[in-house]
C-alpha cells in the first residue's frame, strides 16, 4: 500500500515498484488508505507523513490498533522530529525525501524478509518471567502471550539469541532492519522503548531489556 498525496510521484513509484515485482495499492490521503486497508490487508505500508486529511502519524497510530503490518514512513527531513514521532507512532522504518524506488524497494524487502519469518528457528529462551519462542513467533510474559509487532518481535529475538550479552546497535540495525552500514540508531532506541512499554512492569526502570551505555542493549537473563 502506497500512501502519497502527490499523484505524479505515486504513479511513477507505482510503475517502478511493479517493475521490482510488487503488487501496489494506492491512496492519496489518510482516510481512504485506512478504509482500503480494512478491506484488503497489505504486506507493507509506505506512508507519507504529510497528507491532506489526517496526518501520517495519526494514520500510523490508527493502523497500529488493529494491525501489525510493517510501516515505512516518508519524512521530509532526516534531522527533524518527524522521524522520531513517526517511529513512536508505530512505524517500523523511515525514509527521507526524495524517495528513490530502488532504495524503497530494498527497505521493503528487508521488512518482508522479517515479517515472513524466514529466519532459522532457534531455541526458546526464558528470561525472568519472559519466554521467547522464535519458532512460533510468540512471546509469553508470565504465561500470557504479548502482542508485539513484527519488528519488536525480531528485536527481542535478536536479544534473546544472545541472552545476557551486549548486542550493539549496529548489529541490531543490520540484523533486524537489514542496513548494511550506518543505519540510524534512533530506529533501535525508539523500538526498544516501545518494546519495553509492552514487556516491562516499569518501562522507565527496565529489568528485561537493559541499556548498556555507549554500546547497545542486552536481555537480562
Amino acid at each position: 500500500m502506497l500512501v502519497e498525496d502527490d499523484e505524479r510521484i505515486r504513479r511513477v513509484l507505482d510503475i517502478a515498484l511493479r517493475g521490482e515485482g510488487y503488487r501496489v495499492m494506492q491512496a492519496g490521503a489518510g482516510a481512504p488508505a485506512l478504509a482500503k486497508l480494512a478491506e484488503v490487508p497489505a504486506d507493507v505500508v509506505v506512508l507519507d507523513l504529510m497528507l491532506p486529511d489526517i496526518d501520517g502519524f495519526e494514520v500510523c497510530r490508527r493502523l497500529r490498533r488493529t494491525s501489525d503490518v510493517p510501516v515505512i514512513v516518508i519524512s521530509a527531513r532526516g534531522d527533524s522530529h518527524d522521524v522520531v514521532a513517526g517511529l513512536e507512532a508505530g512505524a517500523d522504518d523511515y525514509m527521507i525525501k526524495p524517495v528513490v524506488a530502488k532504495e524503497l524497494s530494498a527497505r521493503i524487502r528487508a521488512l518482508l524478509r522479517r515479517s515472513r519469518g524466514n529466519e532459522p528457528t532457534s531455541a526458546n529462551t526464558v528470561a525472568g518471567d519472559l519466554e521467547v519462542r522464535p519458532g512460533e513467533g510468540v512471546v509469553l510474559r508470565g504465561g500470557e502471550p504479548v502482542q508485539l509487532t513484527t519488528t519488536e518481535l525480531r528485536l527481542l529475538e535478536e536479544l534473546a539469541e544472545r541472552v545476557g550479552a551486549v548486542v550493539r546497535r549496529e548489529t541490531l540495525l543490520e540484523r533486524v532492519w537489514g542496513y548494511d552500514f550506518f543505519g540510524d540508531s534512533r530506529l533501535v532506541d525508539v523500538h526498544v522503548s516501545r518494546l519495553r512499554s509492552k514487556i516491562e512492569d516499569d518501562p522507565g526502570n527496565p529489568r528485561h531489556v537493559v541499556t548498556v551505555r555507549g554500546l547497545g542493549y542486552k536481555l537480562a537473563p
Binding site: 502527490d6 505524479r8 510521484i9 511513477v12 513509484l13 510503475i15 517502478a16 517493475g19 521530509a76 532526516g78 534531522d79 527533524s80 525525501k97 526524495p98 524517495v99 528513490v100 524506488a101 530502488k102 552500514f181 550506518f182 540510524d184 540508531s185 534512533r186 555507549g214
Partner: protein, 468 residues
Amino acid sequence: MRSLRPGLRGRVSAAFAVGAFGVSVLLAVTTYAIASTYLLDQRYETVLRQAVFNAESVNDAVLTTQPALSDLLERLDASGGESSSPLVLLDGTWYERQFQPGHGRLPTAFVTAATHGEPVRQRFQTAQGLAVAIALPLEASGGTYVEVFSLRELDQTLTTLAATFTGTATMTTALGLLLGLWASRRSLRPLTSVTTAAAAIAEGDLGTRLGAQRDRDLAGLADAFNRTAARLQARVERDARFAANVSHELRSPLTTMVNAVEVISDRADKLDPESREVLDLLADDVHRFARMVDDLLEISRFDAGVIRVRRQPTDIASLVQVVADRTAGRAVTEVEADAEALVCWLDRRRLERVVENLVRNAQIHGGGVTRVAVSATTAGQDAGTVADTRVARIAVEDAGPGVPQGADEKIFERFSRGAPHRSGNPEGVGLGLALVFEHVRLHGGRVWAEGRTPHGARFVVEIPTEPR
C-alpha cells in the same frame, strides 16, 4: 574601536564636576570676600574707637598734669580685644611702653604720613603676624598718638575660613563628579541595553528585542530599534524561507523525474543506442539537479538557523571508507592503523555529506580522487585548535592542478567555483565546499586545502573525537 576621546559617560561626569567646581568656587570666593571685608571693618571700627579714646586721654594728660608720658602709656587700656601697643611721638621723640618697644618696626611711609598731622591707618606685616597701625594727631601738643593693633587672630580666622571654603569647594567638585557618574550611568543604562541588544543581533540572534521603556525620550529609540530588528529578522527569515520553499517545492517534481529516469534506465536494453545515450545524459543531469536542490535546501537551513546536530558514536574510518569508495566508484580509502576502530561522536549524515562533497569536488576539479586517508592525531601540535584534543583527520587527495595561490580561503565560500578539470564533467553550483565548511564547523573541527608536490591538491578535515 576605542578612541582617545572620552566616552559619553566620561563627558557627562566631567560636565557635572566642572559645574560643581564653578559654582562652589564662586560661592566660596564671594562668601570669603564678604566675610573678610565685614570682619576687617568690624575690627577697624573697634581699634579706631580705642585709639581715639586713648589719644584723648594722652591729649588731656599732656595739657593738665604732664606726667611722664611713659608712665601714662603703661596705664592706658591697651587691651583692644587683642594686644596693642600705644606710642607717642612728641617733638621728634618716641615714647613707648617699656616692654613693648615698637616704633622701629613701623613702616617708614606710615611714620612720614603720621608726622604730617593727619590721621593715618595702615596694615602691615610684622614678625608676629598681620598688624594695623593707627596714627592720630594730638592737637594740644602738636605730637602724634600711634597705636599698633595685632590682627593675628583675625588673620587666623580668615585663613581658617579660606581653608574651609577650599575644602568645601574640593568636596563639592568631587561630589559633582560622583553625581555625574551616577546620573550618567543611570540615564545611560538603557543605552547599555541597546548596546547589548545590538551586539546580540550582530551575533546573529535576530530575535533580540528591547523591553518597554518608561522614559519617553528612550521609548522612541527602543521602538525604532525594535522595528528595525523585526524588519531585519523578517527579511532574513523570508530569504531563508524562500530558498527553503523553492528547494522544497522542487523536490516533488524531482522525485518524479529521478524515479522516471530509473524506470526507463531499467528498460534501457529496449532502446536504440541513440536514445540510450540521450537517456544517460538525462539521468546524469537529473541526478545532478537533485544534488543541487539538496545542497540549496541544506545551505538554506544553515541560513534559517534551524540546525540540529545529532551526534552518535561512529566508527569514522568505516564510514569514510564506505562513503568515499561509493562516491568514487572504486576503492580509494586508506585507513591508518591509529584510526582503526576510532570512535567519534558525530552526526553521520553530515559527515557523509562532507566526504561525498570532497570526493565529488576532487572528481570535478581535481581530475579524479587519488587517495582518501583517515588517520588519528592530536590537535595542538599545529596552531589553531584546542591543545590535547584527539582528532580524526580525513585527507582527500587529487591529481588536479592544485589550489591557486590565495584562493585556499575563498574556495570554501558559497558559489565559488573552480574551473572544471575536463569539459563535459557535470559541475555543481559551488555549494559543495561551502557545505563541507559548515558541517565541519558544526562539529568543532576545521577544514583547509593545501597544494601537493609536484601537483594536485589535498583537502584536510579535522574533527574532534569528542564534542567540546
